[in-house]
Symmetry: D2
Subunit: 302 residues, 4 copies
């Protein structure tokens, strides 16, 4: 009944070899497929074909993001809902995108290219489905088990979020309000996690970061160890968010796209009451330990 989860984020990279080396050796993803201009990567515990697409482009940016729906019918239902809202929808043909069935694509009010898809090739995770071990041997780098969420920027956070919520069925877990009560940040979910998609104030079409899930605080430390060992610039962390209560590190891939590793937080069902933050608590809302934001965190996006 609707959207299941983030399927993949598609970013552009000016140096494919550097990007691929980072995402496989340092981040520990698996490169599943390489075409002329793109690399498709997945985390070790993900079943679907990929959760990250890297496309060569002279400019760092985001091509768009794709969410997976539960039923084939959901595509049509959501297509109608989006069109009714007034956004043109384009059907993406089966196999037009690597390893994907038919999709629907549209621009969101926040200026992002969003695709919904139902069929994705199953390549399977690293563990078998019959009598699996509980432990995976030989992982390298950070090796998150799966992609978790992304945060995009929008000029009008409230308008952008209403679309995701009213039209696409996202549920609002947390919101940050300015002094006038207008939303300047929203956190929304479809998968019973604190957020699958979040929006903060910024230019339309921007990507603030995408995030990989880690299993616990010790994995966060190991991630920091791996990042430092490999000379990756840490933006903030290890620290904790007030929003989501999760533990986190922000850092940049070698081309400049911000990554996050994230763990913890509560587990919200659809009846979860929205948590509201006031702007004077923005410091603790974003970085609970530091109590304030660095300039870079607020200004840099791709």
């Amino acid at each position: 009944m609707g959207i299941l989860r983030l399927s993949h984020v598609d970013i552009t990279v000016p140096d494919m070899e550097l990007a691929s080396a980072y995402y496989t050796d340092v981040m520990g993803l698996i490169e599943v497929e390489r075409t002329d201009g793109s690399a498709y990567l997945k985390c070790w515990d993900e079943e679907d074909h990929h959760s990250l697409r890297l496309r060569y482009s002279p400019r760092v940016g985001m091509d768009g993001f794709t969410f997976k729906v539960e039923h084939a019918d959901d595509l049509e239902d959501l297509e109608i809902a989006v069109e009714r809202y007034g956004m043109p929808v384009r059907r993406v043909a089966r196999r037009e995108e690597v390893a994907q069935g038919e999709g629907v694509r549209f621009e969101t009010p926040s200026g992002h290219v969003m695709t919904l898809v139902h069929e994705v090739d199953r390549v399977g995770g690293l563990l078998p489905k019959i009598d699996p071990p509980a432990y995976v041997d030989g992982l390298r780098g950070i090796a998150p088990p799966r992609m978790d969420h992304l945060l995009v920027t929008a000029e009008e956070v409230g308008d952008a979020s209403r679309f995701y919520i009213d039209v696409l069925g996202f549920r609002l877990t947390e919101q940050l309000l300015d002094g006038n009560g207008h939303q300047i940040g929203t956190w929304m979910e479809r998968s019973h996690s604190p957020h699958d998609l979040a929006v903060v104030s910024g230019p339309n079409g921007g990507l603030h970061h995408f995030a990989f899930w880690l299993d616990d605080w010790d994995h966060v430390r190991k991630a920091a160890d791996v990042l430092a060992y490999n000379g990756v610039q840490i933006d903030v962390g290890p620290t904790r968010h007030g929003i989501t209560r999760g533990n986190t590190i922000y850092f940049f891939d070698p081309l400049g796209t911000r990554n996050e590793v994230f763990t913890g937080g509560y587990r919200p069902d659809p009846d979860f009451p929205t948590i509201t933050w006031t702007e004077d608590h923005i410091g603790k809302a974003i970085f609970y330990y530091e109590g304030d934001l660095n300039e870079r965190f607020m200004k840099v996006h791709t």
Copy 2:
């Protein structure tokens, strides 16, 4: 659209003061309400009125378990589905149960009294909904943030599970098959966790255990420390399950009902492919570190 999660487990205790002392002081739950014969308890991060009811009775046992549905309409839809399956359904009147709206109640094929409810009084968790801290001070005992799942016994695991799956919409995440390919254990979910409800071979109507969620492996250690400090008999653990991959401790409340603390595991969406275990791997399936089961684990239930 259907069942959200386990709402509460209702057990009977021959010594209310002892049971209440254990569940508040050692387990760290909050006693929300006490009536003539019953105590209602919740975990610190739960919003609803209670997740555990203790009712005085000279005999240790389970009165039943209640799941919460997402929409008011779900009650009627599921009532029809259960009746169509051939099980009589009784409407539970609003406020017939403490802090609850109307419900539907029926006996499952595994001989358990199951109730579905939509409205539950909100008493709120320990953290406010406006500018909350990310940390709760002053918790005592184990203090799990929430109830997680329960495991019941059934003479015919396959029949019992088909009801939960086909009629109530549970999704099968894992199954354990005997040498003839018959299910002798099933793990099912509604909340995008590895299991909300599980069934293993045993007498109809039995409760093997119910489980509280912990946030990580360090919380598992602290739980073991608290249990040992308070002289609570540990059944198995700290250890890990092959099934769910979660980390765990089993132990008994002072009246003899088995409790579990549980953390970890994957996070399954509805498109999660079922994992199958063969009986010759039952040891690692249940206790990955030990590789086999103790007699008590297989024989003792309430």
Copy 3:
């Protein structure tokens, strides 16, 4: 045979009630004794009378630090060695200091008042010495098990360190050299830990911080939670040192003295080979994750 470990750090605080409230409620120390002008505090797992003395003074600063020696004879031996080195030594009479036997006191080349003592009143830790539990219930705040080390500043780090090493028998575990090969930081131990005493460039007589031991990375997170919850300003961390490899948080008590919580690191015996850092690696040496120092870390001391 010589110095055992850091016994206590004596600091001055312009507001005794505020300081005492912080060190007991937030840091979780135990106030063992209060005299007219001073409060004596210890960690829960320490046997000796105190590891921190707070003395009222309008000015924040350090009165000095005291190390404990193993044998009564060590006092005289070290007294002779210090005098031979040319520093005047004063005998501190039995009970001149609260809860202490006779001591020897002198000014070190780095301008710090250092005392050596053998007898200290035993008040015992929180756990009994007969059939103790392995777990302590009811601790509040950060509750470190013990004091770990202190870092002081000196105009001439090399001269200061030679005294500690050649005269007092400290062993050099790590050193930071400037471009000319001169020591600008030294880390020294007596207790088979990475450091009991460290010296970095700065004014003579200064205190950079003293540090409490935590048992693991999870305790570091809890410390950050407690600090943030109580509004304590975190200076840096949670992070990791290159030097010692330990995990750490730096922060300030409410009067402005820097505290650290520290865990991990290797365990050096006297045959441990010294690790050397070159100044161009100073960033990773001090903060392995960040790779550089903040201004405050280098400039602020008391």
Copy 4:
């Protein structure tokens, strides 16, 4: 001034390839040298040549254990002390043992062959001594940073321990007394850790286990994962000791010698007051979570 720490344990293995495969691939040690009949292994953070010697023999057992002394003079001092106690001492010639200088060897009252040595070849740990990273990449298996302690059996624990304490200078951190007040277990240290050497009741000359140090509870979990993944039989754990308060797993190498991984515990200086356990607390003393011992733990040694 005397003994520094456990240098190496020398065991016999009936299948060298199997033993070497286990200690390198599963335990994650480094095989430093292989001679005709022996393999020499070390942990990644150890500087000295080896901490474990495997010697081919048709029978599983222990050849002896070696402790390292701080100064060359200590060898002679301790030789005199041992001889004065009445035990014959043999000088082991320089290079008679692989990678070692001259040693003194004797049989202890508990019937163990003990060697003291001062010079051991330095092969260095995996991290450099100039500007090292804080993190080691590419470790496999459990990969403990270092050997920690060993536990031997003796018919007369009290007599055996008096020798280690009175003659060799070990300090008694904990003791277990039977109902008549006689020692049936002793834990002794030289390196400011809870134990470098322990003795429990059993046949003279027996080895109960030797133990590797792990850095924290999360490393204990990973060790259990690696053991289970590789089909290694776990004896007990993950659990906690009452004695030492450390967290632990016991298990057997494929030839039948018991191994332990151990972390935590307090850090005792020489002024640490001995902790005493009475026999009626033996269960919690050894396994704090379980509260009792399994038969195998008490009966099996090599």
